[in-house]
Amino acid sequence: MMQQGKSSSSGSEMQVTWEDQQNINTFSRLNNRFHELEDDIKLAKEKCDNLEDAGNELILSDEEMVRFQIGEVFAHMPREEVETKIEEMKEATFKSLENLQHEKESIVSQMAELKKVLYAKFKDSINLEED
């Protein structure tokens, strides 16, 4: 993400203030959080899809007793109960996915701001792109 600012050709006398250092630290934290969020969003999307598929399968099947996984075991439950549970899980996962995506958008804009500030001061001496 950030390579050591090797100012080879310019050899510029780049002074780094404490404020600059804090900006760099913040950018690093945001970038880490961004990657974590991307992974979490991927998992949440998969879970949403799985629940969707499960719901559809349930509608198609005509069994009265469905085996619903709780923890490590599959409990026999009446169909309506399972339907309700799946709906609840879908809502919870969807809400969590929305929150994650909001957080990600906020982080992306914060990172863009910091990039502007840091590139303005350091120009070529700093690299803030993904490697």
């Binding site: 100012s7 050899g11 203030t17 075991v73 409990a75």
Partner: protein, 195 residues
């Protein structure tokens, strides 16, 4: 247990739970003359510091992975106990299919019951009433989540110190390059003046 003595610039912690903070250098030249180090020794010192930070980071990341695996486990247990509690009044037997071995499942009839057994680890399993079990599991969950929060804060602090050290190394290196360039120019200027 973190000491709160400020490290001069920014009034931050000088260490956190055993991890020393990387002191921010205002000016490279002043730093080198004050510590009477030449560029190479300073670079070596900071490189070593960076390695030490990396070692601690690996350890913390491993702890974080463990905790992140433990939390869903506890949540699953809570769900099971919750389901049993919900069934308590009805008197129905719960039929459950569970894994005996890979690919082999067996059926269990779980009668109406007031107690559950919890595996506490170290080959110990204790019987609890449903309420006690829920309370215990909730407590464990809270502790795990709190530990995870502290761990994440530690990691953030550590990563900040790593970034500060990396920037310091770059600045000392650049300063060194600049000094060499100045030294190269100066003798040539003198010889030109002499001849």
């Amino acid at each position: 247990m973190s000491s709160s003595s400020p490290s001069g610039s920014g009034g931050d912690l000088s260490e956190r739970r055993g991890i020393p903070a990387a002191k921010f250098i205002q000016d490279v030249e002043t730093y080198l003359s004050q510590s009477s180090l030449d560029s190479n020794s300073a670079l070596a010192f900071h490189q070593e510091r960076l390695q030490q930070y990396k070692v601690v980071e690996m350890k913390l990341l491993a702890q974080q992975r463990d905790l992140q695996a433990k939390i869903p486990d506890i949540e699953k247990c809570l769900e099971v106990v919750g389901t049993l509690e919900a069934r308590k009044g009805t008197g129905e037997t719960l039929l459950a299919d569970f894994e005996v071995s890979e690919g082999i499942y067996s059926r269990a009839c779980i009668e109406d019951t007031d107690s559950v057994c919890l595996w506490l680890g170290a080959n110990v399993m204790l019987e609890y009433s449903c309420e006690e079990a829920t309370a215990l599991l909730k407590n464990n969950l809270e502790n795990a989540k709190a530990s995870l929060e502290v761990l994440v804060a530690d990691l953030q602090f550590l990563r900040d110190q790593v970034t500060v050290t990396q920037v310091t190394i770059a600045r000392i290196y650049n300063y060194d390059v600049q000094q060499r360039r100045v030294k190269q120019v100066a003798p040539t200027a003198i010889t030109a003046a002499d001849s």
